[in-house]
Symmetry: C2
């Protein structure tokens, strides 16, 4: 619902929140977890301009006295899970209060500076204790492109347009943005090799994905109806589902990707709430004449009209040489989350349709966000056609897949006339040698 927290005229007394191009305007207010020193306990925060608002300290100072008791208690937890468990109304109440607190024209709280920490001076952590992580495959462009490489005669499998395809991912190896990613070893076998061998992957790739963080859970055995799905979502973030393509090609049949993915998954630190995204809702993917209607449990008129999110996503690469020479990251692709064949609500409804329980803090990732154009692809596998072509970097370096020292940076933002820009911040990771 669009309300006064989205008013484009709002300004904050935190000046950097008004800087052109900032992701963290007062209309955004994403939630995350940070600590000031490596030994300190994690705390909840809200990103505002270049600062992080310390929610725990806000509670101590009595600045959140008019939000429900449960919300105040959850603001003092070391992860977002307790707040997530309270559901969307609780998060909305907090948003509304924080918006008023940070608004210019209101008197800043006494000793306002002590409520804030410069984002550049804190450590941003994985925002929730992620119990289970599920990775979808919701871009039909990505599925078709990848399918054409792994199965040239059969690119898009017959189930794709009916089933929101997904697999369980590995929770333990989800890491915070900025964590370096060691090039994994694994079994690979070239098609003409007589036997497989074991060693560092030669086809390390990124995947540009949008993450969905679950808010309120559902009981085992109780599916979530598609019309109620958003009540179970806290918000969205960015996910880099690092992939070893040579390992994947050899291991993935018949039970799906395993070690080709489980060595690391990077998550961005800030969760952009569904409330913040309200102005950027859009229709679901427009199905063509060849596309079947979704089965009733995946079909909802409101979701058809408003189930999409108009979020621009991009992936950039900076090689070590580019960093040494002070060259800006090079954009590999820019797509939009509008292009996903399945909506967030369809993912939640499908996931729980067999009674599977989601818990607060569970992560659903969208799968690689790729669009129909050359410039809108979300991984190197697609961009370089499995390494057959290369990407040229400004230094003249070329890439089929990622090289040691390469840093991948994911970004996302929403813009719409009459509304303030909101952004997701960054999801970064650099490749360390095997």
């Amino acid at each position: 619902m669009i309300d006064e927290t989205h008013d484009v005229g709002l300004r904050s007394w935190v000046e950097s929140a008004g800087r052109a191009g900032t992701d963290f305007t007062i209309q955004n207010l994403p939630l995350g977890v940070f600590r000031r020193e490596s030994a300190a306990a994690p705390r909840l925060g809200v990103a505002i301009g270049d600062e992080v608002l310390d929610l725990s300290r806000c509670v101590e100072r009595g600045l959140l006295d008019d939000v429900p008791d449960g919300v105040r208690a959850a603001c003092r937890a070391p992860a977002l899970n307790p707040l997530m468990a309270l559901g969307r109304a609780a998060v909305s109440a907090l948003r509304s209060r924080v918006s008023r607190l940070l608004r210019a024209g209101q008197k800043p709280p006494a000793d306002a500076a002590s409520l804030l920490a410069p984002a550049s001076e804190v450590e941003l952590l994985v925002p929730a204790e992620i119990g289970d992580y599920t990775d979808f495959y919701a871009s039909i462009y990505h599925a078709t492109n990848v399918g054409s490489m792994f199965r040239p005669d059969n690119p898009l499998l017959p189930n794709y347009r009916h089933v929101p395809i997904a697999y369980h991912g590995r929770g333990s190896s989800i890491v915070a943005s900025g964590t370096s990613i060691r090039r994994p070893c694994g079994q690979t076998k070239a098609p003409d090799a007589p036997a497989p061998s074991f060693g560092p992957t030669r086809r390390l790739d990124y995947e540009l994905e949008v993450g969905v963080l679950i808010g309120r859970g559902n009981e085992l055995g109780r599916p979530v109806a598609i019309a109620d799905a958003h009540d179970h979502v806290l918000g969205l973030c960015l996910v880099n589902d690092w992939s070893a393509r040579d390992v994947q090609a050899w291991e993935y049949q018949p039970l799906g990707p395993f070690l080709s993915k489980s060595f690391a998954t990077t998550i961005s630190p800030w969760v952009v709430t569904l409330d913040a995204l309200a102005p950027f809702r859009c229709p679901a993917f427009e199905r063509g004449p060849d596309d079947p209607a979704p089965l009733p449990y995946l079909d909802d008129p409101h979701d058809r009209e408003q189930g999409g999110f108009d979020i621009t996503v991009e992936a950039l690469l900076r090689s070590r040489r580019m960093a040494d020479e002070g060259i800006e990251p090079h954009r590999l692709g820019r797509g939009t989350f509008r292009d996903m064949y399945w909506t967030v609500a369809q993912m939640v409804a499908h996931h729980t349709s067999n009674g599977c329980n989601l818990r607060p803090g569970d992560l659903l990732a969208s799968g690689t966000v790729s669009g129909p154009d050359e410039g809108s692809l979300g991984c190197l596998l697609e961009i370089t056609r499995r390494g057959e072509r290369t990407v040229k970097l400004p230094t003249g370096e070329e890439r089929g897949f990622l090289a040691d020292g390469d840093e991948v940076i994911l970004r996302a933002y929403c813009v719409r006339d009459g509304f303030a820009r909101i952004g997701f911040g960054e999801c970064r990771g650099a490749v360390a040698p095997a």
Copy 2:
């Protein structure tokens, strides 16, 4: 290592531990978590005969004063994870102390009765907080049988003999033995149907598996060498990986099983430690002339000689009518864990070979334990050849797949001349209507 705790002559002052056929002899001493009332905090326990020894109370009474402080603290936790994290030496020290405590000939502690609770009067819980659950596919007989149904022209894929195939499972829906299993709904499509439909599965199945509970974890980026793998395992249990075969057939390509499995997985309450299993180690699967040598990271001479476990496993079914008429459960199959193509150590080494971190309490399941004979198959899919034949029950009822009201009971035990029998207890679940 076989030591005095395995001595076949040991007797316990808990009389039921000496009853013929008991799973929980004094040579076993499996670990679990129980509570006396539904509101009570979970406590660690050791199964002995028909009783559960309350480890927390043993600490309170000073009966574990000669084990290290860390072990005593871990014995008072509400789950096995802290004890798991301490590693195998800690668990061995506890085993040794508990063995002496329960031994006949020793004087039973004063007020010994208050240290014990009748197993029939307590609730047995999931024994650990399971962060991640991975399901392997380690029986070549199962893989070949299933492959022949899903891909008649290509039953065993070329990677099988090289890669310990596995997929990530769902952690949130792992339930304690005895929890009823609601028949899940899902998308299915008959080969000749023009489109899929959604409804209760018509091909509900069980899978008889052995579970591996991880003890000490490994750091992200640090693989566990095969020779060290058992240092990271607490012990084994039973797992029923319930499966909706019609959902699985339609959804599983290209990313593997998802909703066909994630509605529920049942785990047995007692973890039989590697120490208890020491007398039952046996050679790994004997590879034939067509089988390639494992790659070096999966090969270890000690594992070849001693990497197997001679555990007999069986699955039984009792229909509602059988229960009403007081008829004993009917055995569906009996196999041995010796028949697995990949060892537990190979599973751990493979899982971590890309740097993936395992955490204390993580669950690896073996995949369906099926052997080469008709009587040694571990799921109905194989036993009834996808429902083409039926199993006849003593009541005259027939089953292609599971019917509502059917209870599936998994059991396992080890016997060897010169050693006491040890058993795993039961892993039970009954099917509730959709």
